[in-house]
Amino acid sequence: MRTGSLKAMDYESDDQQPAAPSDERGQYWVICLEKVASTQDVKAFRELFEHFSPMIKSFAYKIPGLEQAEPFAEELLQETMLKVWTKAASFDARLASPSTWIFTIARNMRIDLLRKQARHVINNVQLYQDGDDDEIALDDIWFEDENSDVFNQLAMQRSRKQIHESLKLLPIEQTEVLSKVYLEDKSHAEVAAELKLPLGTVKSRVRLALNKLKLVVDR
């Protein structure tokens, strides 16, 4: 049984796996994904599932005010990991780390499920409009594979390390805003409304955080 927090980057050793520095740890999941892609390796998939699924479920529960959170979390988990299985061959370690790739799939899937749920509600009250079927697919707006350019790879690795090390040094009010935006699915405007802050304050907290993380955004 694992104890403590289950973080990808500073994952401690457990019975099956030797302790490894974070880079090698990430490399381990790359190998798992490649095994799933090339030989449909169920054992490798099982390991990926055990490592990432508690995060996917946690990510589902972050949506505030969700009715039927448990079935929603279950569906998000199932659909995200199914996609990991079917799309493993399109994973490209030069473009993204495994956790970034899986986060992206979970993020898109969550938007998709929330959108379907909203439409379902609209349907029930007879506000559904004809012609909504041909609206654009989510993957055309939020790409899963094409965001990065190969030549950015080194820069990405650097920033990933930087982010990992600096994130815990951020003041609480900056981490709070980042968590709401990334995990609770709240835009800057929604965070401002919730915290009863001017939009400018939320924007500057995010900016200060990005600045401390030394990201090129806003440079």
Binding site: Q40, L77, Q78, S99, T100, F103, D132, I141, V217
Partner: protein, 231 residues
């Protein structure tokens, strides 16, 4: 992918980029960001970083226990459907100069869209991006023509897809991401050499300064589905 346009000068700010990377930007605005990314390698790099940040926050969450049955259920599903992992789709060399999302929305053929003229130099076609709070459209200004003089009630984002236009502040080129906020009045003029095609999304209906054009927009609105909200 389109050869990179070195001219991109106006970019989404950190707020738009962060909300986009987090997935919480409204779909119509996200479409504008995605369109800008097509033209802007610098912002693609930024989005890459911001997605890394998201992944880091994602992995630092408090894990939630997953029942053993969940994996078995998924494995059963995988076995039941013959669909094994699919090979990556070979990226087709893009023949179009327009971003993928815009191509999808227009089925690759701009002329087949339902265009409405407002004035002699301006036509507009509404797009359906599943965002009921905003109006998203493509608009085209004839070379040398201008957009009807208008004032914004809500925020407007414009991304240039072809050609260029100028207003009292600057000249804008392909890929530029231009934000106009509530209350600003402006009058963009397309450059003389070619028509200017733009993608735009608007928080609230614009107010035309000229009554005749306002009547034109009234007719335009009659022909499109009224906006209904779920609330």
């Amino acid at each position: 992918m389109q050869k990179h346009t070195p001219m991109v000068k106006y970019h989404p700010d950190a707020r738009f980029l962060t909300d986009y990377a987090a997935g919480c930007l409204p779909a119509s605005q996200a479409l504008c960001v995605a369109t800008h990314l097509h033209y802007c390698p610098l912002c693609r790099l930024k989005i890459g970083e911001l997605t890394e940040l998201g992944a880091e926050l994602f992995m630092q969450q408090q894990p939630v226990k997953v029942e053993k049955a969940a994996l078995e259920k998924l494995l059963a599903r995988i076995q039941a459907s013959p669909q094994s992992p699919i090979s990556p789709v070979q990226a087709e060399p893009s023949v179009s100069i327009l971003p993928k999302a815009v191509n999808k929305l227009t089925s690759g053929n701009l002329e087949r869209l339902n265009w409405r003229r407002i004035g002699s130099n301006f036509r507009v076609s509404r797009l359906n991006v599943g965002d009921k709070q905003r109006e998203t459209s493509l608009f085209c200004i004839k070379a040398g023509g201008h957009v009807p003089h208008h004032q914004h009630k809500g925020d407007e984002i414009t991304v240039i897809l072809k050609g260029s236009f100028s207003d009292h502040e600057d000249k804008y080129e392909v890929g530029d991401f231009i934000v106009r906020t509530n209350g600003e009045t402006h009058k963009p003029v397309a450059s003389q050499d070619q028509d200017c095609l733009c993608l735009s999304t608007l928080d609230a209906p614009i107010v035309l300064s000229n009554w005749l054009l306002r009547f034109g927009l009234y007719l335009f609105n009659l022909g499109t589905p009224s906006h209904q909200t779920a609330a």
